[in-house]
């Protein structure tokens, strides 16, 4: 097991290398030039050329990439073109709200979706099942920003239950944090809830057809315990898989949700950086997101072994 984790950790290095190459090339291939944005609307071509030279953007692409890799290898994500601050510092400043939003969303989504999916499976074919599935389809279909503004309108402006925008750290004022984070969490959770509910339902229904469920019934076990004790654990592997894959979904959703609710997190940082072509920030953020995703997948693989004794690495 430890050998497996060690092996996977080592394997992360080449994965990140490939991600770095792709990110770098995609950015250089996409249109836009940070130098002309810095120079402003009234700059002469000579000014822009001078800034390009300063930023090192005139060097051949392989040289630029090599330089960046070299700094990366030293654990340095580089310096932001616009703010002249280290990218790692910018990320550190902004990471807390994003981490908080992602965790509350993950917890909320799982707490809501897994029971919903189980109930739907349990009552499969009844109106309860159908109602839950209609909700799930609707949850897939509604865009995050539309849902965000509807919730703000209803619960912040009309009912005045929650603040419209902004963020407070839970370490400063936990109650205020909860009031601020509730609507963004609900907004971001909906698509995730829809996804996990569907998978949970399908997985439980499938497991309930298995032979060992019949065996449990033949032992005289009650239906409730058959479900809780025999079916759920067996249904868990696909559910965990989807939760893990969904983290990628979450990263995309965070960007939009933070914009809607004006939360000063990584999502906002990445949007601003893209608009200004601040290459080091974009590259750094994508690397961080990729690393998180790879680590989550490793975590998922480890959780598998805890659930299923047949899975051994």
């Amino acid at each position: 097991m430890l050998a497996f984790i060690a092996k996977r950790m080592v394997a992360i290095i080449p994965v990140m290398g490939v991600v770095a190459l792709f990110v770098f090339l995609m950015l250089r291939l996409s249109p836009g030039d940070p130098a002309s944005i810095i120079a402003g609307d009234y700059a002469s071509p000579a000014d822009i050329e001078r800034i390009r030279e300063q930023l090192g953007l005139n060097a051949p692409i392989p040289v630029q990439f090599g330089k960046w890799l070299w700094t990366l290898a030293h654990g340095d994500l580089g310096i932001s073109i616009f703010t002249n601050l280290p990218v790692s510092k910018l990320i550190a400043q902004r990471i807390e709200p994003t981490l908080m939003l992602a965790s509350t969303t993950l917890v909320f989504a799982v707490l809501v979706a897994v029971p919903l999916g189980i109930i739907a499976a349990w009552k499969a074919g009844t109106w309860i099942d159908r109602a839950i599935m209609i909700f799930a389809v609707a949850g897939f279909s509604i865009p995050v920003f539309v849902l965000g503004y509807i919730l703000i309108f209803q619960f912040s402006l009309e009912l005045r239950w929650f603040p419209v925008q902004g963020y407070t750290s839970p370490f400063v004022d936990f109650w205020k944090f909860l009031r601020h984070i509730t609507l963004p969490t609900v907004t971001l959770s909906v698509i995730y809830i829809a996804l996990i509910t569907r998978i949970t339902r399908a997985s439980v229904i499938e497991v309930m057809e298995e032979d060992y469920i019949r065996t449990a019934r033949a032992k005289g076990q009650s239906e409730r315990i058959v479900l809780m004790r025999h079916a759920l654990k067996n249904a868990a592997v696909p559910i965990i898989t989807v939760i893990g894959l969904g983290v990628a979904l979450l990263i995309g959703g965070v960007v939009i949700t933070e914009s809607v609710y004006n939360i000063p997190g990584l999502g906002r940082l990445v949007v601003d950086a893209i608009l200004k072509r601040d290459y080091p920030i974009i590259q750094g953020l994508i690397l961080v997101f990729s690393l998180v995703y790879v680590m989550v997948n490793l975590l998922v693989d480890i959780i598998y072994t805890l659930v299923d004794p047949r899975i051994r690495y």
Binding site: D211, Y212, K219, Q221, N234, P309
Partner: protein
């Protein structure tokens, strides 16, 4: 049957309705039989006969809303089970009546330890303390002869053997000393030597505990081995019942006569000598080793097949028999080059194909064709039968028109209507699908036909027909057939020569009559001694 004994289980006029749009109205109709104390009652029938539905009705395990008992009584010691509430049925299940199932691997929860699964039944039905239930669990595990129970309780189902898994099921079923044990094909998924042990165990338990056993099977060998009385079912009806000896030796109903006549004999019939025919297929020191290599430790090697030498002559059938894991399927797949052998030679008409490159091999693919075990899975469900049959010949440059003509000729040959070529596999029965698979193989004009457990998934009456067809095409096309099977009766009937495989090696090899008559290797002897009903000669009532 003596009338003063009260039956443990008495089924009277039981009818279970199928959902609308099924192929018949009732799954079972007016079924009546009883199981007496201290007896093993076998319910025999082919698939779809309603034998499992009957058992599930007794246990109250029918899928709700799909199957419902509409008439009759199921009396457990005089108490009508059909009138019980779900709660009352739960109290009875596992305590007074228990059930064991066909496939112990899937019948056990893969994520729960063995101990938890046996102990569960004690927790449901009794107020035993932890120490008491642990003690009882160890006791029943010892009773079913599970080795090292204290260690085994921490194992998971995938870590123990198939026979042990079924013993675990039986231990759980017997933990509360039920008066009735229902066994639904409990040995069908097991190897023949394991099957013999489990049958003996069930018989011993029935004797020592006086449990009444309702034993469901499709296998007349098992019936001959274990049954006191027999109930024969067909299409949801009981067609015959009586003392096992009477039914087996003097069946009355035509269906029973047909079934018993279809059971292949353990004595090979006289077959013409083929020693002079030219050799078509020959393997020399064929090996297949699976190596699990890892950077950090020595490679673990599994010898699936080792130094296999065999020859098959034109017009002859060579049987390869063995239990699961013996390497017989690996051998078949190597010869077809579905997997690559790791050593040795495969000579087809004297040319070695063992080491041919993929491209060179493709030219030779026509020569060796294979028929698989499960006809439900070996035909592409989205393609018509016609498409499946003509694809092979057309790959070898036969024109479509010619391939079609050949396909319809072959359909007639295998006993199917050529007009059915445009249908899809699901529109055929299992036996018909296996005929299609044979036609597909023959369409290639092969030199060698490999049948890998080709009749094992079929009902005994259908099995007899397909065996007859295989023997017919062998004669007609002068084919060399390599027949892989675990079923000794089938092997005895169709094979000229037999090779016995054990742990990847051929341990005995000879003419069928010699191997069956005087088996020389210890393993062969053990294998033959384990065959259920080996001492019983099933009569042929077909002409009577």
């Amino acid at each position: 049957m003596t009338s003063d004994q009260q039956a443990i289980l008495d089924i009277r006029g039981l009818t279970v309705r199928l959902p609308a749009r099924a192929d018949r109205g009732n799954a079972i109709e007016n079924v009546s039989f009883s199981v007496l104390p201290h007896e093993i009652l076998c319910v025999v029938g082919e698939s779809g006969s309603g034998k499992s539905v009957t058992a599930h009705t007794v246990m109250g395990l029918l899928p709700p809303k799909q199957l419902t008992a509409t008439a009759g009584q199921v009396l457990l010691q005089g108490d009508d089970l059909l009138k019980k509430t779900p709660g009352e049925m739960r109290a009875l299940r596992g305590a007074r009546m228990s059930m064991i199932f066909q496939e112990p691997m899937t019948a056990l929860n893969p994520l729960m330890s063995i101990g938890d699964q046996i102990e569960e039944i004690l927790q449901i039905h009794t107020q035993m303390s932890a120490a008491e239930s642990h003690g009882r669990m160890i006791e029943v595990m010892e009773a079913v002869k599970l080795p090292e129970p204290e260690r085994l309780i921490h194992s998971y189902p995938h870590q123990i053997s198939g026979g042990q898994r079924q013993r675990v099921m039986i231990a759980g079923a017997l933990a509360l000393e039920p008066i009735l044990l229902i066994a639904d094909e409990p040995t069908t998924a097991l190897d023949v030597t394991t099957q013999a042990q489990i049958l003996k165990l069930i018989k011993d338990i029935q004797r020592t505990h006086g449990t009444a056993v309702l034993f469901i099977t499709h296998d007349f060998g098992v019936v001959a081995e274990i049954a006191d009385r027999v109930v024969v079912m067909q299409h949801g009806l009981v067609v015959e019942q009586g003392e096992a000896k009477n039914v087996l030796t003097n069946p009355q109903h035509p269906y029973t006569r047909m079934l018993i006549s279809s059971v292949p004999s353990m004595t090979p019939p006289k077959r013409p000598d083929t020693a002079a025919a030219p050799v078509v297929l020959e393997t020399q020191a064929l090996c297949k080793t699976y190596a699990d290599r890892s950077l950090f430790r020595a490679a673990r090697e599994t010898r699936a097949a080792h130094n296999v030498d065999l020859t098959v002559r034109r017009g002859e059938t060579l049987g390869v028999v063995g239990e699961s894991g013996s390497g017989k399927s690996t051998l078949a797949r190597c010869i077809v080059r579905l997997i690559d052998p790791t050593g040795g030679q495969i000579l087809i008409d004297g040319h070695d194909i063992a080491g041919l490159s993929e491209r060179r091999l493709r030219e030779n693919r026509r020569l060796v064709q294979i028929i698989f075990q499960d006809p439900y899975r070996s035909l592409n469900p989205r393609r018509t039968v016609k498409a499946s049959i003509i694809e092979g010949p057309m790959n070898f440059g036969v024109s479509k028109a010619e391939a079609l003509t050949r396909a319809s000729d072959l359909m007639t040959l295998v006993g199917l209507d050529p007009d059915a070529l445009d249908r899809f596999p699901h529109q055929f029965s299992g036996g018909q699908r296996q005929r299609i698979c044979i036609a597909r193989a023959l369409a290639m004009n092969p030199e060698v036909l490999i049948a890998d457990e080709a009749v094992s998934a079929l009902d005994v009456s259908v099995q007899a027909q397909v065996l007859e067809l295989l023997d017919d095409v062998r004669k007609r096309f002068n084919l060399a057939i390599l027949f892989i099977t675990h079923d000794l009766r089938v092997a005895a009937q169709i094979c000229d020569r037999i090779a016995v495989m054990y742990k990847g090696e051929i341990v005995e090899h000879g003419k069928a009559a010699e191997v069956f008559g005087t088996p020389s290797h210890d393993y062969t002897q053990a294998l033959f001694n384990a065959a259920p009903g080996r001492d019983f000669e099933f009569g042929n009532f077909a002409s009577a």
